[in-house]
């Protein structure tokens, strides 16, 4: 194996290494001159700056070796907050972020129902990930959950900007406020989780997976909050967001993609539920909100087949796929393969869990590679 001396502390090489790291499925024949045990020692004993650099090196080498174990292990060596920490800001209908501070963690209810919803539902989302997957916030290290409400004027949207969640009030004509639905908040927060895990590129199939994971865990947050089993859940995303004027029950249906709305003003729900109906488009970053219907339905079918609480088995399989298997450019086939493999590893090959996963993916037109 070729040995290449690299100054891993130089900014130029860090950038180069980051780009190289994106090719995770390729065999890396470059060895780093600083051994792992030295970096671990620096993490234990070094200055704050030295610790951070050494930690980055360890993450990098683990990624090159196709492992992600170090993230969880090393996080325990830094000061990590193990408590929920929410901050809600008010943009006052402007588009400045984060806006005016309204409510900090632990403060009593104030600022109106939108602030309360953002506060309560981000707490519910944190609790879901902590209780079910032992995940400490978005980054596993207790990252603060910042939300801005009343963003923009009549703003018919909610988004994740890479560091925080942002919610509009809706125009009152088509949309109500976007904090109204717990699954919307779960959806946005999950974008943060994805960013720190598989970092699925936000376009085409990888982007549709990114969207699907947010719908999946957004829905599971709602089901957990309501203590619903899979057969009692509505499997709707954004129900309650439309005003009464709109002919529609929600923005998306994981159970039956394409059925959520059909309205003379906003049109018909365009989501497909099967690969034969995959939408090729350049809009919406390659249809990330459209084609997410296919993996959404695969999750729904898996959860319904297995029964019980959907987060228990189906949710666990999908979570492990997101955090341990997928990469930036993973596609639907990658997720099918990963969930098939994970189900076999956790529950046993050819057991009901793996069979349910296979049946679900076949149901949307994809055959996991282990089955071919």
């Amino acid at each position: 194996m070729k040995q290449t001396k690299i100054d891993v502390y130089s900014k130029k090489n860090r950038n180069c290494i980051d780009r190289h790291c994106r090719l995770l499925n390729r065999t890396c024949k470059t060895c780093f001159i600083i051994p792992e045990y030295v970096n671990k020692k620096i993490v234990e004993k070094g200055t704050k700056k030295q610790k951070e650099q050494a930690w980055r090196n360890l993450i990098l080498t683990e990624q090159l070796r196709g492992r992600r174990l170090v993230t969880g292990l090393m996080s325990s060596m830094f000061s990590v907050s193990n408590r929920l920490d929410r901050t809600i800001f008010d943009a006052k209908n402007l588009e400045n972020l984060p806006g005016n501070l309204v409510r900090r963690e632990g403060e009593k209810e104030k600022g109106g129902r939108t602030v309360t919803e953002a506060y309560d539902y981000s707490g519910s989302t944190y609790n879901f990930f902590k209780d079910v997957f032992d995940r400490n916030s978005i980054d596993t290290r207790g990252m603060k959950l910042d939300s801005t409400v009343h963003y923009g004027e009549d703003y018919n949207n909610a988004f994740w900007n890479g560091t925080q969640m942002v919610y509009g009030d809706g125009d009152g004509d088509i949309f109500q406020r976007f904090t109204k639905s717990i699954d919307v908040i779960g959806h946005e927060l999950t974008h943060g989780v994805t960013q720190y895990e598989a970092a699925l590129e936000y376009e085409n199939q990888s982007g549709a997976l990114n969207e699907s994971f947010s719908d999946v865990f957004g829905s599971l947050v709602k089901q957990y909050f309501l203590e619903q089993k899979a057969d009692k859940a509505d499997w709707l995303i954004g129900d309650g967001l439309f005003t009464r004027k709109v002919k529609g029950v929600a923005l998306r249906s994981m159970k039956e993609p394409g059925s959520a709305y059909n309205d003379p003003t906003i049109g018909k729900d365009p989501q497909p539920g099967h690969m034969k109906d995959f939408v090729n488009t350049t809009s919406d970053n390659g249809g990330v909100h459209i084609n997410s219907g296919i993996p959404n339905r695969a999750f729904y079918l898996t959860a319904m087949d297995l029964g019980g609480y959907a987060w228990d088995k189906a949710g666990r399989i999908w979570y492990i796929a997101l955090t341990e298997r997928l990469r930036e450019r993973s596609n639907f086939q990658s997720l099918a393969n990963s969930t098939f493999a994970v189900a076999g590893q956790i529950y046993g090959k050819n057991e009901q869990e793996q069979k349910a996963v296979v049946k679900a993916w076949r149901g949307v037109g994809i055959i996991p590679s282990g089955m071919k």
């Binding site: 402007l94 588009e95 400045n96 923009g152 004027e153 009549d154 703003y155 018919n156 949207n157 909610a158 988004f159 994740w160 900007n161 890479g162 125009d171 004509d173 088509i174 949309f175 976007f178 919307v184 959806h187 946005e188 974008h191 960013q195 970092a199 590129e201 936000y202 376009e203 990114n210 969207e211 947010s214 954004g238 923005l251 003003t265 906003i266 049109g267 365009p270 350049t282 809009s283 919406d284 970053n285 990330v288 909100h289 459209i290 930036e328």
Partner: protein, 95 residues
């Protein structure tokens, strides 16, 4: 100058398009869009990280005149707050 602007994405994933005369746009916005199309590349510095943000609006601006179609694309977070507000205002009447 006639310009087509498509806004897609957002949490709802709606795609909507409008055609406007640049002279009818707010001056700063008209200047930005005309400049981008004239240069055949976005004058909007693509500062936001497309792969970290999600559910933001995505804009595609195209010329309606001229022999060759030119498309300029950017994310709403690439715009400064004034231009972002102006762009989103254009779509207020288009649901």
């Amino acid at each position: 100058m006639k310009i087509e602007i498509e806004r897609s994405g957002g949490f709802a994933g709606f795609t909507r398009g409008i055609i406007v005369e640049s002279k009818d746009l707010p001056r700063s916005l008209a200047k930005l869009l005309e400049q981008s199309l004239a240069n055949k590349k976005s004058s909007v510095p693509l500062t936001s990280n497309k792969n970290k943000s999600a559910d933001c609006y995505h804009f595609k601006v195209s010329n309606c005149e001229g022999k060759k179609k030119i498309d300029i694309e950017f994310n709403e977070l690439d715009l400064d707050k004034e231009l972002r507000s102006l762009m989103n205002n254009l779509f207020k009447k288009v649901t």
